[in-house]
């Protein structure tokens, strides 16, 4: 932010300390700053302060309650148990598929299109579809029974697996698109050079693509993790909201809209945000261990 400008020699304006910056184009960020202040900074600060003003007890009472009540602190564990594997799965699936599609081919567009369609569907729509397809009397179950592949009951909804499936369906396209843009940004000549030097396809991937992709994958991981961590609708619709998928956002929801304890709800939200922040900071710290410069073979 360089709002500080140095007056050129011979400048005889009325006031050089005017708060209006010399370069007025900087004012273009004003709407964004106002938006950020009004809809993020202020509510966040409000919630932060509110979380220390409990309905009863000392200023840390909400936090003490959260970490002493198993019904509450378990939600944090459950959310991690859900978000971490789902994120690893999404990034892990996106990487090989995006890598295979790195070259422009006739079918690349179609495959990309097909993989990306779920991004246009809302979580609720996905849940609706899953109930008809994966449910105990759903098409999958009926088809498997009809073909006598598996006759037992199939439980892929209203439990942990249901939420995992839902999060993969909605989270994968996002990871895939992001990874695809990182993969296609890497100069394919690098892999060709590695090949002429004796690297087989696996070594080309391991030695060239993977180290160059690592910083991008870290970013993808962070974004996908934050998305999965804040899971709410699918945890209710296709999960077991009072048991195995009682995630932290549900705890916040209950505090706010069932017990009308906004202070407690704010505390839960703060804990949720802090937990996400820890993971993001850890991943970004690890990212610094990798090369993060330009990914082409020569100077521009």
């Amino acid at each position: 932010m360089s709002t500080l400008t140095i007056a050129p020699a011979g400048h005889t304006g009325p006031s050089t300390r005017s708060w209006v910056p010399r370069d007025r184009t900087i004012l273009l960020v004003a709407p964004a700053v106002i938006f950020l202040l009004a809809f993020f900074i202020y509510p966040f600060a409000y919630g932060f302060v509110l979380s220390f003003l409990p309905n009863e007890g000392g200023w840390l009472a909400n936090y003490e309650k959260f970490f002493s009540d198993a019904f509450l602190w378990r939600t944090l564990i459950i959310t991690f148990q859900l978000a971490l594997p789902v994120t690893i799965l999404n990034v892990g699936l996106a990487l090989p598929i995006a890598f295979q599609l790195r070259r422009k081919t006739r079918y690349q567009w179609w495959v990309t299109m097909f993989l990306v369609i779920p991004i246009t569907l809302g979580t609720v729509l996905i849940a609706e579809g899953m109930l008809t397809y994966f449910g105990p009397k759903g098409w999958l179950s009926q088809a498997l029974q009809l073909l006598h592949i598996y006759d037992g009951p199939i439980r892929l909804t209203h439990n942990f697996a249901g939420v995992v499936i839902s999060l993969v369906i909605s989270g994968f396209p996002f990871c895939f698109l992001l990874t695809l843009s990182y993969v296609t940004g890497i100069d394919p000549t690098l892999a060709r050079a590695a090949a002429t030097l004796g690297a087989n396809p696996w070594q080309q991937f391991r030695q060239i693509y993977l180290p160059l992709l690592a910083p991008g994958l870290a970013i993808t991981f962070c974004l996908a993790f934050v998305q999965a961590f804040s899971v709410f609708p699918s945890a209710v619709l296709v999960g077991a909201p009072s048991g195995s998928t009682r995630v932290i956002s549900l705890a916040a929801y209950e505090a706010a809209f069932e017990q009308y304890d906004y202070s407690m709800a704010s505390a839960v939200a703060m804990i949720m945000g802090f937990a996400q922040l820890i993971v993001v900071v850890l991943v970004l710290a690890a990212r610094r261990g990798f090369y993060t410069g330009p990914v082409t073979g020569a100077k521009g």
Partner: protein
């Protein structure tokens, strides 16, 4: 791959690409070439002539549509690039940006699981050869273009390949560095004693570096020969144009005696030599500007007015307009004034005659 090979043989090497319209485009047609050990071959041609395609086919980066490539008795066109072991220097260098210069150079040896002590010695030798000591621990992005180019060469030669492939390695350098690196490349080639195939669109580079030049156009080989041959005796009009025969005149044959031909047109009457079967009265005469001199000695005298003169130090490049409006480019060490009427002369053996091109 055997470093003591005798020759690399390309037989009928062709490569077609399917374009978006669905039809097949031949980027390279029936390339036949035998490269002897120790030879420096330049593939020369304008962009899109198929020279890089040929190089990629040899390296194994592109599959052949037809033909075969063999190293002595072993057929290698069926091998993937990592099994061929040819060193390649790419036009954009393709240095691995995340590895230090040392790891870049050692990459080929790492892939071959060369023991650490030997690797160290060989990498050090490669650094010596390209004279790049002291930069081993930098990242490629911290080097200048010329240094990056040296790293690319070091990385390719450290594996001691039987064949070194270079794809316009000097095109990203400035003029001065280009001259220096040209000499370096020739020296490195001599010290290694292996074969080099060098792709370029720069005739000077090809002439100064190569033992033999392969001139290409539209995927077809036009001429293969030693530099003197290609320079002085172009096989056809395409090669002539590409080798700097800037004056191409449309003439009609007046008389023929063996390959000695008298042709006229544009108010000129020139004695020349047919380099190809002329097969008709319409011919094209190709003359280098260097071979037209100001003077009146000899058979071919052309009179005209100086329209433009570019001073070039040792000599000047002048444009002379004949009374019929034809513009001739000539070089002369004499000082001529603008609009001065001069007499030009060119020796008959330097007026090369080819069949006229079909004009659309």
């Amino acid at each position: 791959m055997n470093p003591n090979f005798k020759e690399l043989r390309l037989a009928g090497v062709s490569r077609h690409f399917g374009n978006p319209g669905g039809q097949q485009v031949a980027a390279l047609r029936e390339l036949n070439l035998t490269v002897k050990r120790g030879e420096f071959i330049a593939l020369l041609g304008p962009s899109g002539c198929g020279k890089t395609t040929a190089l990629n086919c040899i390296a194994g980066l592109l599959p052949l549509t037809a033909g075969s490539i063999s190293l002595d008795d072993m057929r290698i066109d069926v091998l993937p690039p990592e099994k061929r072991g040819f060193g390649m220097v790419f036009q954009n260098y393709a240095l691995f940006p995340h590895m230090t210069v040392r790891r870049n150079v050692a990459f080929g040896l790492t892939m071959r699981r060369v023991p650490a002590a030997e690797m160290k010695a060989r990498v050090a030798r490669a650094f010596d050869l390209v004279q790049l000591g002291g930069h081993e621990d930098k990242l490629p992005g911290q080097l200048s273009g010329g240094q990056q180019q040296r790293v690319a060469i070091a990385r390719a030669i450290v594996i001691e390949p039987p064949l070194l492939l270079m794809d316009e390695p000097l095109s990203n350098l400035d003029a001065k560095l280009r001259l220096e690196m040209r000499a370096e490349i020739r020296r490195i080639h001599r010290e290694l004693g292996r074969s080099t195939i060098y792709v370029t669109h720069d005739q000077d580079e090809a002439l100064s570096l190569a033992d033999r030049i392969v001139v290409m156009k539209d995927g077809v080989v036009q001429q293969v020969g030693v530099p003197e041959e290609v320079y002085a005796q172009p096989a056809n009009l395409h090669v002539a144009r590409f080798m700097g025969y800037r004056n191409v005149l449309d003439l009609e044959v007046e008389s023929e005696q063996g390959n000695r031909v008298v042709a006229n047109g544009h108010g000129l009457r020139l004695h020349g030599i047919a380099k190809q079967a002329l097969g008709g009265r319409h011919v094209a005469a190709a003359i280098r500007p260097e071979e037209i001199t100001v003077g009146t000695a000899g058979e071919n005298i052309i009179e005209g007015k100086v329209r433009n003169a570019e001073y070039g130090g040792r000599d000047s490049l002048i444009d002379v307009v004949t009374p019929s409006g034809l513009v001739l480019h000539a070089r002369t060490t004499q000082r001529v004034a603008l609009d001065e009427t001069v007499k030009l002369t060119v020796p008959p053996e330097r007026v090369l005659l080819y069949p006229a091109e079909d004009r659309p």
